[in-house]
């Protein structure tokens, strides 16, 4: 048996200790895997409001004898709702994805076919936005932008309902 010198033994021990310490540190350290999680989807209430608003706007465009101001208001409402949705990264991501196949069903309610249906649709959207303006979570980081806009659109739609009769 070859005799191991004291110096060699100390050196090997030092190497082994170093390896053990390194392995221990490696096991003990949490490894953070950076995974790109998609942002949460935009608030469903806003998406639904935009779909209902698009239905109302289409109803205005098909109706006859309406004051031009109502259609202009509806276009401004659409832009405002879209601007609110743009605040949410999940909406921006969804918009950047490829468009659904042609003929895919749309999520909004049907376009009002007559004046009575139009009044009902405007009333329903007014109530929907009013409720959201009152109940939008104050903890949402965009609540100070969202709630006043929804309240203003609800107020505008209330006046539309009055004009429509």
């Amino acid at each position: 048996m070859a005799e191991i010198s004291r110096r060699a033994l100390l050196g090997r021990s030092a190497v082994l200790l170093g390896l053990a310490a390194g392995a221990g540190a490696g096991f003990a350290r949490h490894v953070h895997h950076r995974v790109a999680l998609p942002p949460p989807p935009p608030p469903a209430a806003l998406v639904q409001a935009l779909a209902a608003q698009q239905s109302v706007r289409a109803g205005y465009e098909h109706a006859s004898g309406l004051p031009a101001g109502l259609i202009a208001d509806a276009q401004a409402h659409r832009q405002a709702l879209r601007a609110l949705l743009e605040l949410y990264p999940g909406w921006r991501l969804a918009q950047a994805e490829p468009a659904p196949a042609a003929g895919a069903p749309t999520a909004g309610p049907p376009v009002p076919a007559n004046r009575q249906q139009l009044v009902s649709a405007v009333s329903a959207l007014t109530d929907q936005l009013r409720h959201q303006a009152e109940a939008w979570p104050a903890t949402d980081p965009h609540a100070v932008e969202v709630a006043p806009v929804l309240a203003s659109i609800a107020a505008s739609l209330q006046t539309h309902r009055m004009v429509l009769g």
Binding site: A133, A147, S152, Q158
Partner: protein
């Protein structure tokens, strides 16, 4: 407004609404004197009475919060001298628009204060003020009797 507590925020919004109600209470009697149409005069009287009630209720609400309600100004200036029915109608529109703006500010204050009752009061008030403006706006600008965003003009 940084550093203001929830109560301070709501009070600021309520005081803004009260100031706008003071203007309405001052303005509608003047408006009524320039209207020859009986229906319009009746509407001005009804609006004055409604705003007087709202003003008193707001003052009582602020008193209950331990706050001195903001006082009315000595006088209020219409956008144009009120000498005709048209200028009277324009002033009524302006008064209601400013009330809507005050209520919209209260919406913002209520969100920041996380006060659900104040927010409901604000949304109701904003919708009410917008509806109040429609009668007068239909007379003064029949082609555009509505606005897209009441309270922002």
């Amino acid at each position: 407004m940084s550093g203001a507590g929830p109560k301070d925020l709501v009070v600021a919004g309520l005081q803004s609404v009260l100031a706008a109600e003071h203007a309405c209470v001052y303005g509608y009697p003047v408006i009524g004197t320039q209207l020859s149409d009986a229906g319009q005069r009746g509407q001005a009287h009804a609006d004055e009475a409604a705003h007087r009630l709202a003003r008193d209720a707001l003052a009582a609400q602020l008193n209950a919060l331990g706050v001195t309600p903001v006082a009315a100004d000595i006088e209020y200036q219409p956008p144009n001298p009120v000498r005709t029915a048209a200028t009277a109608q324009q002033w009524a529109v302006q008064l209601e628009d400013r009330l809507a703006a005050a209520y919209r500010y209260l919406v913002l204050c209520a969100v920041r204060a996380d006060s659900a009752p104040a927010r409901k009061q604000a949304v109701d008030g904003l919708i009410g003020a917008a509806a109040g403006a429609v009668y007068w706006r239909r007379l003064s600008q029949p082609d555009a009797p509505t606005v897209a965003f009441p309270g922002t003009g």
